[in-house]
Amino acid sequence: MSLLARLRSMLRRNRLDQDLDEELRSHLEMRAADNLAAGMPPEQARYEAQKRFGNTTLLKQDAREVDIVRWLDEAARDFRHALRMLQRSPGFTTVAVLTLALGIGANTAIFSVIDAVLLRPLPYHEPDQLVMVWENNSQHPNPHNTVSPPNFLDWQNRNTVFSSMAYMFDGRDNLTGNGDPQEVVVQDVSANFFSLLGVSLLLGPGFTPENGQAGHDNVVILGYGIWKERFAGDPAIVGKSIVLNGHPQTVVGVAPQNFQWFIKDGSLTSAKPQMWSPFVFPQSWSNHNDMGRFITVVARLKPGANRSQAQTQMTAIASQLEHEYPDADGHWGVNVVSLRDQISGELRPALLVLFGAVAFVLLIACANVSSLLLARAASREREMAIRTAIGASRWRIARQLLMESLLLALIGGGIGVALAVWGTNALLAASPRNLLDMHSVSMDLPVLSFALAATLLAGLLFGFLPSYISAHSRISETLKEGGRGTSSANRRAFARNAFVVAQLGLALVLLTGSGLLIRSFVRLIGVDPGFDTGHLLTFKVSLPRAKYGKDPLCLAFFQQLLARLSVVPGVRSATMESFPPLAGLGAATAVHLLGQPSLALSDLPVTNVQVVGSNYFNTMNIPLRAGRLFNAQELAQERHVTIINQAFADKYLHGLNPLGQKAAIYMKSLSENELQPSEIIGVVGDVHQLGLDTTPEPTVYWPHPELVMSGMTILVRTANDPLSIASAARTALQQLDPELPLAGVATMDQLLADSLSRSRFTMLLLGIFSAVALVLAAVGIYGLIAYSVTQRTQELGIRIALGAQRRDVLRLVLAQGARLTLLGVAIGVFAALVLSRLLATLLFNVSATDPLTFAGVAALLAVVALLACFIPARRATRVDPIVALRYE
């Protein structure tokens, strides 16, 4: 019947109804009249006519077979019927609903995070047109290297693909006045930063183009958080003045709450900016040969331009610059990255792996419920046969069973969404603070649509096969055989076996994934960081340049601070360094070893530079491998000495004795005649500066007088809990200068845990999901074997009566489970070999096809599956032959 006719019949439904009513009434009346004429009493004449008709309502519905409304009526009837059927078997319903709720809930929870991180548009104007522009050195690949200011200026002048470009770099400033001094992360930006992103401020006019001129840059825009916390959300803040590093700055705006701008790769502080201030390049910053790379660049593509066009043009500009400034720009290219990839890039692989994992969990759940339905369908075969016999069509029966499945799915989905709301918030609460930058996930339209789609899909998926088989069973066979040994029973048995095998296979894939992550994590935490992380307190102290602008002041301050700290009770020793380990931070520069041939600056080897205070190596427990440590004179005055790490010696000195070698370290200034080479006086062990998963890089250590820095990380080795001396440390600091805040207080063990947080979190989640998968698969094979034992009670009874031993029965039943398990494991291993490659980027020092992991999880799954079979197998041995034979 065509759709048109169906629609027409729907529209005519009322008319049709009336027609039919009238037609049937006239029929009844004619019959009654004839009965009357034949001599029946009037009452009986009418009753007889009615009786022949049966239920007129039912008849009417049958006559309107084609009506779509009738279809809906029937669906509603099926729905009520399904509800009754589910109520009648609460055990089955509970298990099925919970299984589905788990599957759908896990999917919805992970999807809500994916939606928030990967799918939802960024809160900027036309965010797809925003790109990050990085430099990228072919000799020392780092795809997201910060940019040198003169290059930025040249890019800005020469490109035709960007409508505007903005720069930023962050630092820690001291915020004083109204309350304790506080260290805040301030991002210095170009004046067009906010207008380029297209952010409308919560309050205030924001930066004007005039703020981009020297002398007009004493303004600041507050982030939402600091405005709320420090300034109590003062609605009249705009126009007021705050004091940063001793300089008054006028507040010209407050950023909206959803402005969470943070580009980790370019950050010098590794912390989210709390306020923004315009920064004007000084004249000297356009000199290519005198500038380092430290700014982060964001740009907006012109309408119609795309990222790859921008990449092409910027690469061309970079090679022009390489020719023009070979010393500064040799080997440097440009990398244009979309803002979306920049922000979500590092989370994407983990999220996609987790999404795949929960999809597997849902599939396993579906297989379980499907298998349960098949078992139920077998026992309901007579019901179905009778319904077919009295005229229900196949479609009708299939539809009724599908309705039951959908109802199960909907209830499961509803509970699943509730679970997801709870689970997602638990997830976010448990997730490390530096991983997901969210506090709550809302169940908004896309997430709910996803949950609904997953629910309906699951309902159809697990409902299809059972209803198909039931609808195609042969009635006569069923009624004769009493539901056993029929072709549909065989098909059901096959389908259930297939489901169990599929479940075991899927579970194995998940277990392999989490096994690999666990092994990788164990490898990771087994890495020796190169120093002792226990009982070590760290915090940061940044001296405002206005007050401590002269090097000797700076030097003296830190020396006094370390001296005071080292006499605090409970402190064993105190030291400091420029960049704390494991935080992904560092400064690097070119180095020229005087014994080696001279090269162009851009071809020289690169080394990390770490500036340290007295007692550094002792406090950190970094072993001395050769030579000696810095002495008191070298720690007090510039004596041109340095200590290198083992990686430097191995990579650049190739077995030469490093001691006494002289190295020109291009950190202070590039002009050759000012550069005083440093003599290597010692070699120390390697430290994992960037994180446990990164190999230690060549590093030179300078005592503080060699390169006086105003911001240092203080490290205090304590006898007991490091945090217990934090307040004593604050007192020591503020006795020296009451305006200075103690910032970023943490123990080194915390920093270590933070650096591992993403690996741990991914491992934990995948571990949870694969445990769920393992349990579901075990329940699946348990259910199948238990059912088959029930079905075979009679057979087993006969075997026992004929003298079969317990052992034989046990073996018989276990063999069935073992066959399925082996098949499932084999398929799973094969699938895991293909799929585990997707995990490669998340693994550390473990191959994606690690044989030990594969063997381990295969064994684990096999043992659990066989244990699950063992329970019904034991029951089978206790079959009483007398009872079994009387079964029928």
Binding site: A5, E23, S26, E29, A33, D62
Partner: protein, 110 residues
């Protein structure tokens, strides 16, 4: 009274109704009476089967229906065979002939 099995009637009911209507337009009650009379009370059409069948045939375009007045002035719905219905009748008669011949062959063979 013979009560034919459901599936036997399914096929034959359409044939009987088409044949009945071939003699002229008739309402549902009339059809039941006619079949009962012509089959000498052997076949009795169930109302529960007749009306669904009539509606299906109407949907399929074999019959058309319109309201009219019965012999004793009652409003009734009269069914009339369409051209398509005539063709269908010829088809079903041929099928029926083949079926009965085949059954007869089998019976006489044994």
């Amino acid at each position: 009274m013979l009560k034919p099995k459901n599936d036997l009637l399914q096929g034959t009911l359409a044939l009987l109704v088409l044949k009945t209507l071939a003699c002229g337009p008739l309402h549902g009650y009339g059809i039941t009476l006619y079949i009962q009379m012509v089959s000498k009370d052997f076949l009795r059409v169930e109302e529960g089967s007749l009306y669904p069948a009539l509606h299906r045939m109407e949907q399929d375009g074999w019959v058309s229906a319109e309201w009219g007045l019965s012999e004793n002035n009652r409003r009734a719905r009269f069914y009339r065979l369409t051209a398509k219905g005539h063709r269908q009748l010829a088809e079903e008669e041929k099928n029926w002939e083949r079926l009965t011949q085949a059954v007869a062959h089998v019976l006489s063979f044994a």
